[in-house]
């Protein structure tokens, strides 16, 4: 187990190197002048000044020098460091008029709030439904799940989101888009409201403001469903087929033969083994969620990193985009690591091989 984790940890620097090289390569599609936006707030109007910036930051140097400087930045004569993604300087966002790192720090809690609420129900209910569908094969839940997963996977996220808005917001006026109603936004921004985690829903609970919590949840319900319905469908399907396979195994027959109750056979003997492919799926779903927030947040006008990335993309603000790419890459490398370790915990065969 320990050797497995160590081997897996050794892969992390390789992946990090790969992702930075990939993003650096995309950066090379820009001209040196455009790349200087990584280091300065505004382009100076006169050409000599631009040349000065290009010289100062070595944007005319060989690629490996540039790559290194991009990683660690440049220290000028006064001793001030400029740039350097390893020091958290991702450049200046033209579209939001603040540094990219700050933009991510402002936006990410909202996205995290949204994805956490999307992930929990998916894992719990999706797996439960999948197990039920397998246990009662061809029963009502199974048939409904089959229809749901085919129809669900055919709906593009943005069509689904827009139809939701059309029905629940524009026609029925049940659920509003955005982040919070104005009155509650004032509560959250007031001094009395303590920010423990920066996630609005959790902070609201910790502050004992259930009205704020309820309003935040109302605003997030449609984005949560839009973000997660595809994951629901896939979790359900994978759990179902994995569970069906496990239920056919001989050890399950043995368990039944020795007289265990059906409940114990299903939940204590079959389900833990059927969960192995589902763990892998959890890793993929982090990827699909991070991709999904781009569209979901744009449709619902939700102020997270996804909508910021989409806006940066339409306005061709490459510096901001690449900052987001780096941030996403980091999250995914960490989450893949977590999934692999979890995999070893769930499946003894992995850790022994």
């Amino acid at each position: 187990m320990v050797t497995f984790i160590i081997r897996r940890l050794l892969l992390v620097p390789v992946l990090l190197f790969g992702v930075t090289v990939l993003i650096f390569a995309m950066l090379q599609l820009l001209s040196p002048i455009e790349r200087s936006a990584l280091y300065v707030k505004d382009f100076p109007k006169n050409e000599k000044a631009v040349d000065g910036i290009i010289k100062l930051y070595g944007l005319d140097q060989p690629l490996y020098v540039q790559y290194w400087r991009w990683l660690v930045g440049t220290v000028d004569t006064v001793g001030v460091r400029h740039g350097g993604i390893l020091y958290g300087d991702l450049g200046y966002s033209r579209t939001s008029s603040i540094p990219v790192a700050e933009l991510i720090a402002n936006r990410f809690p909202n996205t995290l709030d949204l994805t956490l609420w999307a992930v929990g129900p998916v894992i719990l209910v999706g797996i439960w439904l999948g197990v039920q569908a397998a246990v009662h094969q061809n029963g009502f839940i199974d048939q409904a799940a089959r229809v749901f997963s085919i129809v669900g996977t055919s709906f593009p996220t943005f069509v689904f989101g827009l139809l939701f808005i059309l029905i629940f917001y524009a026609t029925l006026h049940w659920l509003p888009p955005g982040r919070l109603a104005d009155e509650y936004m004032q509560v959250v921004n007031s001094d009395a409201f303590r920010h423990y985690t920066t996630l609005i829903t959790i902070d609201a609970l910790l502050n004992g403001r259930f009205d704020v919590f309820w309003d935040a949840l109302k605003h997030m319900l449609l984005p949560i469903l839009t973000l997660s319905y595809i994951s629901w469908a896939t979790f359900l399907r994978v759990t179902r087929s994995s569970m069906l396979e496990t239920l056919r195994m001989e050890y399950v027959t043995t368990a039944r033969a020795k007289g265990l109750s059906e409940h114990d056979v299903i939940y204590k003997h079959a389900q833990p083994n059927a969960m192995i492919p589902v763990v892998t799926l959890a890793g993929f779903s982090v990827v699909s969620l991070l991709g999904g927030v781009v569209i979901t947040e744009t449709v619902f006008n939700f102020p997270g990193i996804g909508s910021a990335a989409a806006r940066a993309a339409t306005q061709l603000d490459v510096v901001t985009m690449l900052g987001f790419a780096l941030f996403n890459g980091l999250i995914l490398i960490v989450s893949n690591l977590a999934v692999d370790i979890l995999y070893a915990v769930v499946d003894p065969r992995v850790r022994l091989s």
């Binding site: 390789v14 781009v294 993309a313 987001f324």
Partner: protein, 346 residues
Amino acid sequence: MAQSVPTGDNSLLQDALPTHKIGWFERWLGPENYRIVSGLLKTPASIVGFALIGFFVIVALAAPLIAPPVTPNDPYKIPRDGFSSDPKPPGTEWKKNVMPLPFWWKIFVKSEKMTHIMGTSEGQYDIFYGIIWGTRTAFKTGLVVTITTLLFGVIVGSISAYYGGIVDNIIMRIVDILLILPGILAALILAAVLTPRIGKSLVPTMSALIAFGWMGYARIIRGDILSVKERDYVLAARVIGVKDNRILFRHIIPNAVFPTLVLASLAVGDVVLSFAALSFLGIGTEVGYADWGQVLSFARNWITSLNTYWYIVVWPGLTLVLFVMGWNLVGDALRDVLDPRMRGKT
């Protein structure tokens, strides 16, 4: 020579004999591939899927008849009926920049006046025209992207599997790294970086989808080739001194490529979906180009009044859903057919 037919109850031999007459088609495809194709043609779900895809193929081919272009030199430009911002409902009379009356309009509607069949969206772009010509855009982008990614993936995957060792290791690590970022985000970034270089057109988005789309095929074909390359006929070819290139392209790839080909042909739906998602976000083609994502993106500014302007979401949305569902239904049946545990059941 008389063929001896075993008699009696030797069930093992009975199984080995063909249970049906083998036609030229089956002979040509081989038993394994024939099983996949016939399995697909027997499932009701996939028949519905094929029907939907066929419908869209017809619409794409007949686009100039269904919606005659206003500007024949540039048929992908959606005609605008003026410039006012508010969408107009279906059935509104078409006043400026009128589309020539299509043949079916004269037959079924028997009117000399053209109307906006599905309404207009923001900026008076005709939704019906956008959907009909958007079908062509969908097939065009879907086919080009799928074929290119497939070619690239097959070449890279084959080289990786055939040479093995360090080549394989390096290529597969590159694949791992490219797969870290979510596909849609990676494509979004690359398309945004490419757009100022290439200009607003289909090319930046398509290139981005190709650049981040080939890895899956490379992995699949690699696995298939790893098993094929151990077969005796490959060894035989090597023994008689056939060159590496020829063994790879004439002996191994043709025997390993079929499952990848089938998967790729069904990926067209996914490609079209990704393309529509990117152009919904505002990346890619110029405003007013006939593609489904663009037509839907006109709705983004109207989400507070979608109850009045439902048609700017429902028609393009429905089109996209039916298109994707067609491919998904076939794909679902295919997964069942390709599943080794299902072998012998269809």
